[in-house]
Every structure is written in structure tokens, then in C-alpha cells.
């Protein structure tokens, strides 16, 4: 701990359940970046490594402030995102609680390291602040980044607003560190729409923190001489693949995805499930995630005011994909619209591949590259679908 002449506040250890459900909450007016930093403050994080990138830069700065106040045990700025994500991997492999964050091109640069995290069974938490990643170069909000992360083996949450960003980051640590889960969690926020939108966020007391991470219950031994029982190799098997069973490598991959399945009951316990469903018997269903869910929610309210029979499904958890919940929620709908903040419609593909009679699905409306999605755009598509133009 650095001697920087500040008094480190005494803090009380509480459970994630207490912090999420029982603790008194105080209203603050925060942008998403500030909300996630408040979560890091309460998550008793050992190590933060970051490289600032728009629209993530504020959380890099704010985590530095937390370190200066003694609320994070170690912190530094990496040389670039690949350095950052490899450092995060090293720290988590050594058995400490890690937070990092990046965005768009930073995610792409670090993808080699990020794709290794689940296989090493690292319970670190990374906030992805989504922005465009190219085609052409773009600094504006876009959720296409999730499409690149879908098959990494990470658990993926998609937040709707700064409140979600706080709550889901706390839940992320509690879920990721379950011994039978122990894979990383990506907490994904749409850049600017969430990271820089200022909203009322209800926070539990700053004096309460989660218990420290305990590497002794991890499903893999920590690579640290101070963590018993002993330092031992846990190399990925491909390193010596000429003498081992390829079945072992395949089974290792299966185990990562098995861990995702095991996360479901903890997601249900700590996040109230993977989906939020309103008016499930409606004729028209809006299915969305992230800030598209916020716009769809407003569109649903307006449509119902106009007399349309519209329901709403917010998909909070993208991996493990809530297949049963989505199939159940879509069972009665005649029309399903899936608004998204990306060009290619990855969420629509996820839903289409699971529900039957998927000709019911209209994969849109979609906007991207920084364009906004007014609720009227969604309303207009609904009216087109039911043949009743406004």
C-alpha cells in the first residue's frame, strides 16, 4: 500500500446479497463511468490495470483516484490494451481480484489475451464500454463489440443504464468467483449512451465492501508461492499437445462452457434472472438488450398508450444465453421486434436460433455508428408490422 498520507477509511465486509438487496441506498447523479467506479470501490478490488480509451477513460482516471485513497491495493496504466489484458491475466492467475476496462479498438487489440481468460478460469471482471471498431474507424457508440466476444467463453452482461452498471458489476464479482463458475465476466455498457449519460443511481454505503477474494477455493491452483497448497503448472494443454490426449483439450473447453451453465443459478439469485419481461401475453414483443432496451421500454409505454398490445423483454445476460426464458417469453407473440445498436443484428441471430416460427421476428430497427434510436423509430416499425400506420 503506498504511503500517500491519506487516511484509509475503515470498511465493513458484507455479502453481495446484502449490498444488492438489503443495504440502504443513497441517490447520486452519476454517469455510467462514475457508477462502475463506485462498484469497484465497494468490490474490494486488489488490482486495477487500464489503458485509457474513449469512452472508457473516466473509469481509468477514477480507479487511479481510488488507488490514491487506498481503496485499491495496486493500480497502474499499461502500455497498451494488450499489455493491460495480459497483466490482468497474470494478476488473476496469481490469485487476486482484478478489474479492468476497455473499449472498441482496445478490445480488438487485446483480443488474444481476452480470449485466454476463460480457459485459465480467471474470475476477473472487465467493463467493456462499447464503441465502433472499424468499417470505418469510429469513436461513437455501437454494440457490435459484443459480437466479437460471444464465443470467448466469458459471461456477458449488457447494462441498460448507469444503475445496471453499478449493480451488475457487483453481481459480476460474486458470480465469477463462485468455485464452480470461476470464469471472467464482461460487463458491457453502450458507450456514451450509458458511460456518459448522467442519471440517478442508488448506491449502498461507501463504508461497505465485499469480502476479499479467496484463491484457496478456486477450481485451479493459484500461480503464487504464497497461496497454498503449492505452486504448480496449470498450462493449457496445447503447449504439450504431442503427448497428451486431444480429448483433454476438448474437455477443457467443454468445462469452460459448463461453468457458464453453473452460473445461471447465481444469476437468478443475484440479478433476478437473465431477463426482465413485461406483458408477456402481448401480441407484439420488443426484445432488446443494453441501451436499446431503454429505448424499447419507452416505445412500449407509448405504444400501449396508443392502444397497441405490446410487451417487452430485456435480455440482461447475453452469455450464458437465457434460452429457456427467451423461448418462454416469445411463445405467444405474433410479432417480435429486436431493436439493436449495431448494423449486423447479433442479438436477432441469437434469438432467431432459439425460438420456433422465427418468421415472426423482425430483426430491427437497427442504428449504429453513433446514431440515436428514437422510440418513434421503434413505434413506426410496430405500426408497419400490424398494418396500422400512425
Amino acid at each position: 500500500m503506498p504511503d500517500i498520507g491519506v487516511e484509509i477509511p475503515a470498511r465493513t465486509v458484507v455479502t453481495a446479497e446484502h449490498m444488492l438487496f438489503d443495504a440502504p441506498r443513497e441517490q447520486r447523479y452519476l454517469i455510467g463511468n462514475e457508477a462502475v467506479a463506485e462498484a469497484v470501490k465497494r468490490a474490494n478490488v486488489d488490482f486495477v490495470v487500464v489503458y485509457p480509451i474513449t469512452p472508457q477513460s473516466e473509469v481509468s482516471h477514477l480507479c487511479g483516484d481510488l488507488w490514491a485513497r487506498g481503496l485499491i491495493r495496486d493500480y497502474y496504466r499499461g502500455e497498451d490494451e494488450l499489455h493491460v489484458m495480459v497483466s490482468a491475466m497474470g494478476a488473476a492467475t496469481g490469485g487476486v481480484r482484478v478489474f479492468t476496462a476497455t473499449s472498441g479498438p482496445g478490445t480488438m487489440r487485446a483480443m488474444e489475451a481476452i480470449s485466454c481468460w476463460p480457459g485459465y478460469r480467471l474470475p476477473l471482471v472487465c467493463a467493456f464500454m462499447g464503441r465502433g471498431v472499424g468499417t470505418p474507424a469510429n469513436i461513437q457508440p455501437d454494440s457490435v463489440e459484443i459480437a466479437y466476444l460471444l464465443e470467448t467463453g466469458m459471461i456477458i452482461f449488457h447494462v441498460e443504464n448507469p444503475q445496471d452498471f453499478f449493480d451488475m458489476t457487483i453481481a459480476a464479482y460474486a458470480i465469477a468467483e463462485q468455485p464452480e463458475v470461476h470464469v471472467p465476466v464482461a460487463v458491457f455498457a453502450d458507450g456514451f449512451f450509458v458511460t456518459h449519460s448522467r442519471e440517478v443511481v442508488e448506491l449502498p454505503p461507501e463504508s461497505e465492501v465485499l469480502a476479499r477474494y479467496d484463491p484457496a477455493v478456486a477450481p485451479v491452483p493459484a500461480m503464487d508461492m504464497e497461496t497454498v497448497p503449492v505452486r504448480m503448472a496449470r498450462d493449457c494443454l496445447v503447449i504439450k499437445s504431442n503427448f497428451i490426449s486431444y480429448n483433454a483439450n476438448a474437455s477443457w473447453q467443454q468445462e469452460v462452457w459448463a461453468a457458464q451453465h453453473r452460473a445461471r443459478k447465481h444469476i437468478n439469485r443475484l440479478m433476478g434472472g437473465s431477463v426482465e419481461v413485461l406483458h408477456p401475453d402481448a401480441e407484439i414483443l420488443l426484445v432488446a438488450s443494453g441501451s436499446a432496451a431503454a429505448q424499447a421500454r419507452v416505445a412500449m409505454q407509448e405504444a400501449r398508450r396508443q392502444g397497441l398490445d405490446v410487451g417487452f423483454v430485456k435480455i440482461k445476460v447475453i452469455r450464458p444465453f437465457p434460452e429457456r426464458e427467451v423461448v418462454e417469453a416469445c411463445k405467444k407473440a405474433k410479432h417480435i421486434l429486436i431493436p439493436e445498436f449495431n448494423m449486423n443484428g447479433w442479438l436477432a441471430r441469437e434469438v432467431k436460433s432459439r425460438v420456433d416460427n422465427n418468421s415472426r421476428i423482425f430483426a430491427g430497427p437497427r442504428v449504429f455508428a453513433g446514431m440515436t434510436m428514437p422510440p418513434e423509430l421503434i413505434l413506426d416499425e410496430m405500426h408497419k408490422l400490424v398494418g396500422a400506420r400512425t
Binding site: 470461476h182 477450481p219 485451479v220 497454498v228 497448497p229 483433454a248 429457456r324
Partner: protein, 208 residues
């Protein structure tokens, strides 16, 4: 089960017919969790994928051990190293269990690294090819204890995939879906309850 069942990526709907039974299950068997098998809640164990009360599991395990031709304990690093009072107590309890089951052997899983040129299956088991140890020693019932969960799961699945060995996992954490029987939170007390069940069955005339 059928021949080859592919693994659970992306997550799939659970198969209500799926049971975790002795293999060989196929070329690449699925992780049981991907087939809808869920770990037991506190106070419960899993038998072939079904949740049962912890109070029933010791008798089931004891019976399997006593009926086995070649029962074998695979102790892992968490009980091979005396790194905590709890690990020492569990290791001693496991030694008592092995002593109580006629003919039961111990073959350690001392670490997890792939080894050149290959392991000696007569003296150790390795998570990368646990089937070699099962085949070489003709083990029909085995008990995993003190193996880190990730490596236990990999080994249990490979054993189910390629051998007919009946697997039992005494897990200090949440249990293992890929074992035919698993107890969670299994420290020295739960191991001792299995030993007590073995003694009871033997006293009742159970013929090993």
C-alpha cells in the same frame, strides 16, 4: 446414451433424459452441466445426476465400494499437502476409508501438468489422460478427493467418455456433475460418514 454427443457451446436446452452413468459414453461425451445436470444444493448430493439428501449418499457410496473388484482412491494436491487443518483432517479420514474397504488402493494425482513422455499409470493418474490409469489398473470404481475442481471435472468426463469405471467425487466445494456420485462440502466429517456406512454394511454381512 447415443454415440457422439457434441459439447454444450453455445448453451443448449437441457435434456431431461440425460443420466450420468458409467461409460464408455462415446468419442467426445458432453459436459453433464451442458446437458442440464445441476450441482446439488447444500445438504444434498448427486447420484447419476439426481439430487438426493446427503444422508442417503454414504450408504450408496459404501455399497459401490464394497461391491467393486478394484476400488481406488485418487487423492489430489488438496489432500496430499498438509496445507490446512481441514486438509489434514480430510486426508486422515480418507486413509481410514481406504483401510476399511477391502482391497482399496490409492493412486495419487499429485499435479496436473502434462508429462513427457507419458505418466506411469501404475503409480499416478493425470487429468490429461486419466483413462490410461483406469485401463492399466483395471479400476472399476474410483473416488476423487482433493483434486482441484477444474481438473477433476476434465478427468471425470474423460473417464466417462472412454471407460466403464464408476466415478465418485468427494468435493470440498460444490460437487461434480460429471461423476456418477458426488458429495459437496465433503470434508473429514462426510468422509467419515462413508467409512461408518462401510463398517455398517460389513457388519450386516455385506459380501465384498
Amino acid at each position: 446414451m447415443g454415440d457422439t454427443v457434441t459439447a454444450g457451446s453455445p448453451p443448449r436446452a437441457p435434456d431431461p433424459r440425460y443420466r450420468v452413468v458409467a461409460g464408455p459414453e462415446g468419442y467426445l461425451s458432453p459436459a453433464a452441466a451442458a446437458m442440464g445436470i445441476e450441482l446439488p444444493d447444500e445438504g444434498y448430493s448427486l447420484v447419476e445426476g439426481e439430487s438426493i439428501s446427503d444422508s442417503l449418499a454414504p450408504d450408496i457410496i459404501a455399497e459401490r465400494l464394497l461391491e467393486a473388484r478394484n476400488p481406488t482412491l485418487f487423492p489430489g494436491p488438496l489432500v496430499l499437502w498438509g496445507w490446512s487443518d481441514a486438509s489434514i483432517r480430510k486426508a486422515r479420514a480418507l486413509q481410514e476409508l481406504v483401510a476399511e474397504v477391502p482391497g482399496m488402493k490409492m493412486i495419487p494425482m499429485p499435479d496436473y501438468r502434462p508429462k513427457y513422455p507419458k505418466i506411469d499409470p501404475a503409480i499416478e493418474i493425470n487429468p490429461n489422460h486419466p483413462n490410461l490409469t483406469i485401463w492399466h489398473n483395471e479400476i472399476d470404481v474410483c473416488v476423487f478427493a482433493g483434486v482441484h475442481c477444474h481438473f477433476a471435472n476434465i478427468a471425470l468426463k474423460i473417464i466417462r467418455s472412454g471407460t466403464d469405471c464408476y466415478t465418485i467425487a468427494l468435493c470440498g466445494e460444490r460437487g461434480h456433475e460429471d461423476a456418477m456420485v458426488t458429495m459437496r462440502d465433503a470434508g473429514d466429517v462426510k468422509v467419515a460418514s462413508i467409512t461408518a456406512a462401510v463398517r455398517r454394511l460389513k457388519a450386516g454381512g455385506h459380501d465384498a
